[in-house]
């Protein structure tokens, strides 16, 4: 029946001819595991096409939804983690395999006459693969994507003469934005895969014209193997192993969540994917006018060297033992790439914002101790005393035996010798004196208020006792740390506990490492290093600031989204702890815009991480990633191993 249908088809469509063309090939010198790379690239490319297309079911290429839509696929869709994981790690596999394929061709001298055209098309495939590997990570427009685009666009801009044109065309505008995302989407999803598919077909047709070059040793070429099934079996073994490795990597090394894009955030250190690290590291050597040499010159030179290789290396000698120059060049190139990649991987940014936490207070104090404090107005000092409480100073500073212990106590010893201007600056811009100060800048306070507070502080310095106001209880204004001067939304009244719903940040999957940096800067002073707490909070029911590691069990939840929804309101809107007169309040980092929503998302990811919960938790995995991986390993092992054993027995039986 089947053969009848096949016959009917073959009379009308050259099916068997096509199959024969693709499978029936004699291989001089026999099959080899050295020849698997081409087939592997082809199959992995096929994986990439399929998983890439499938991601279109969820991913959308917009600046505002790209990251979230990808994360939805990864965490909420059954086996979405695997679709994305296969695509992500498939890209790496493809680049490795293309590199190995190229190396094999180079070492075997297979690019030589008559296979120059095959080599040329192959170089095209290499460039297309690299371009795909470069454009892909840009698409989610998260921290990583944005900064890679920035580097790409800036590099294009360094080109001589056509720099601006190339830059603007690549960015789709004079600045990065939606047009940039759409352009890279256009390239990554349509243009580059389209050309690569065409090139793969050209490459295969060219390859089939002469087949493999085989061993350079003429004697060994007499043996012949068959592509099907001998070589395909070897290819199949390799593909199976690669496929399992990709599943394993997807399960054990899921792609990084680099955090939602925040161009104002200065903590993110953009580094390219590992396969471009060597180039990233190399670029660091080129500054100023030499920059185009790095950004344009080096890639161009390598490409030209590769393209013209079969034309300047025309000797028919294929034995690597007799091609010393070629092999030395190869060794140098590979060493350079690997060394630079390792250096790049371990390189730190040249300057860092997270300096030592202790500031040089002494050096600053000298310059300002000359000021002569004059008490302008006792009434002002009194008003200032009230403000010290109502603006939240006592959340951190102890005054007249009342208040927090995060900042220094307002004693005459502390304040003595400080000028009026120094104090104003300290209130308005604390980082001016102490760069790592966590004290918020009170920009939104009026000049009158600041003057009053300074009067109060100067009075305190002179030992005059002015009563500081007691912190208003119940529905009073919470301490607003930083100020958008023009922001006039009324601060909501604050009773104990958090207020208001979770905000935007609660939906975004933050980056744990960025979160740790921000936590260190903004949260650690109250919640302790790594959120371990034990910072005293006099007047609160607990006596200390609640630790975050481990967090209050009523807030903890194994479900990441619920956990975030529980803690987000505190970070957004602040809260006043229970207790008769708590000195420290949770500040409203979100409402006051002292942290962006993206920063809060990162902090939340870190807090969850401290509590052993993965913010990027997969809520609907289909099957747990690791379980699925081991299931696949077991199934493959049993089926293939079992078959092997069973066949071996049968053969023995017959042979007996």
């Amino acid at each position: 029946m089947l053969s009848k249908i096949l016959k009917w088809i073959n009379e009308r469509w050259p099916l068997t001819t096509v199959i024969r063309w693709s499978l029936e090939e004699e291989m001089p010198g026999g099959t080899s595991y050295a020849y698997i790379f081409g087939s592997c690239v082809l199959i992995v490319f096929l994986f990439q096409v399929i998983t890439g297309v499938w991601q279109l079911l969820y991913f959308v290429p917009t600046t505002d939804r790209g990251y979230e839509s990808l994360n939805y696929l990864r965490t909420e869709i059954p086996f979405g983690w695997l679709i994305h994981g296969l695509h992500y790690w498939g890209a790496s596999a493809m680049i490795i395999l293309v590199g190995l394929h190229l190396s094999q061709v180079y070492i075997w001298g297979a690019y030589k006459n008559p296979r120059q055209l095959t080599w040329l098309i192959g170089v095209g495939n290499l460039l297309l693969t690299l371009a795909l590997g470069f454009t892909g990570p840009i698409l989610p427009w998260d921290e990583r994507g944005y900064w890679e685009a920035e580097v790409a666009v800036s590099s294009a801009g360094t080109a001589p003469f056509l720099g601006t044109v190339a830059r603007n065309l690549l960015a789709g505008g004079t600045a990065l934005g939606q047009m940039t995302v759409s352009r890279f989407f256009f390239l990554h999803v349509a243009i580059l895969p389209g050309i690569l598919m065409a090139f793969v077909i050209l490459h295969l047709v060219a390859f089939r014209k002469f087949g493999i070059s085989g061993p350079w040793d003429e004697a060994k070429r007499k043996l012949t193997g068959l592509f099907w099934p001998d070589q395909v079996f070897k290819d199949g073994v390799a593909v199976t192993l690669i496929f399992m490795a990709l599943i394993g990597l997807s399960a054990y090394r899921p792609p990084l969540y680099s955090g939602p894009l925040d161009v104002l955030e200065t903590f993110y250190v953009p580094k390219p994917e590992w396969y471009f690290l060597f180039f990233y590291q190399t670029l660091k050597a080129f500054h100023g006018v030499f920059e185009p040499i790095g950004t344009i010159g080096i890639p161009l030179l390598i490409t030209l060297l590769l393209i013209f290789l079969p034309f300047y290396d025309r000797s028919p000698e294929r034995n690597p033992g007799r091609r010393v120059t070629a092999m030395v060049c190869y060794a140098i190139f590979v060493t350079w790439v690997i060394t630079m990649a390792i250096l790049g991987y371990y390189s730190k940014p040249e300057a860092s914002t997270s300096g030592a936490p202790v500031a040089t207070e002494a050096t600053q104090a000298v310059s300002s101790s000359a000021g002569d404090p004059t008490l302008q107005n006792l009434e002002g000092a009194k008003r200032g005393g009230q403000l010290v409480a109502s603006l939240g100073c006592t959340a951190c500073h102890r005054v007249n035996g009342q208040g927090g212990v995060i900042g220094p106590e307002f004693t005459s010893a502390l304040l003595k010798g400080k000028s009026r201007q120094w104090l104003i600056t300290q209130i308005r811009n604390p980082k001016a004196h102490f760069p790592n100060s966590i004290m918020p800048a009170f920009i939104s306070a009026t000049d009158q208020q600041v003057n009053d507070i300074v009067d109060f502080l100067l009075a305190t310095a002179q030992g005059k006792s002015v009563a500081a106001g007691r912190l208003a209880k119940g529905p009073s204004a919470p301490p607003v740390p930083a100020g958008l001067p023009q922001k006039t939304t009324p601060t909501p009244s604050v009773a104990p506990g958090p207020h208001g719903p979770p905000q935007e940040a609660s939906f975004a999957i933050g980056n744990v490492e960025l979160g740790a940096t921000i936590f260190h800067q903004s949260c650690e002073s109250c919640h302790g290093a790594q959120g371990k707490g034990k910072v005293p909070n006099p007047g609160s029911a607990d006596g200390t600031v609640p630790p975050l590691n481990p967090i209050d069990p009523t807030l903890f939840n194994k479900n990441a989204q619920t956990f975030v929804n529980d803690i987000d309101p505190y970070i957004q809107h602040g809260s006043i702890p229970e207790g008769p007169n708590p000195v420290l309040h949770m500040l409203s980092f979100g409402d006051s815009e002292s942290l962006t929503q993206q920063m809060i998302a990162n902090v939340e990811a870190y807090v969850l991480h401290l509590n052993g919960v993965n913010r990027a938790q997969i809520t609907r995995p289909g099957l747990e990633p690791r379980t699925f991986f081991w299931l696949v390993v077991v199934v493959f092992g049993f089926v293939l191993g079992g078959f092997w054993v069973w066949k071996g027995r049968r053969r023995e039986k017959i042979n007996r």
């Binding site: 096949l6 499978l23 399929i50 499938w54 969820y58 909420e76 869709i77 079996f233 293939l640």
Partner: protein
Amino acid sequence: MADNLFFVEPTTSRRGFLKLITNLMIGLVAAVLTVPLVGGLIGSSFRLKKSRWADVGNISSLPLGQPTSMKFPYKTEDAYVRETVTHDVWVIKHSSSELTVFSPICPHLGCHYNWHPDENEFICPCHGSVYALTGKVLGGPAPRALDTLPWKLEKDRLFVEWETFRVGIPQKIRT
């Protein structure tokens, strides 16, 4: 012939064995790859949206026995798209504690119908389904009566559980 290439008779030859085991490997890889593809296709297709009680507004001033269209803001969550949209329901007040709340969606094919008081009928402009004040079908292609929505009153404020139902079928099945 092509079938000889793939479908080898049980053989003890080395090549026959290789063909079989290679086909087996290809088949296994393809089968495993199918798993995430099917998972991606199904996705969240069968996941019911959580319905939430929405504050529709004060009903103390509604006329008795007359349908009124009430609009209200509703926080939607459509996969990764979160927005506040305006929904509406038809509310018929029978007494201060007895109401009927109709979904504004025509059960025929999902259009929004209107109340025509001169005819005392709900009429859908798309395909002309006609419903009585009670929701009963009076004419047109509608397969079932208007869909009522769960509601509750809290001191004259009407809360409605926003739900949608499959259209075009006689049964009222949540989507």
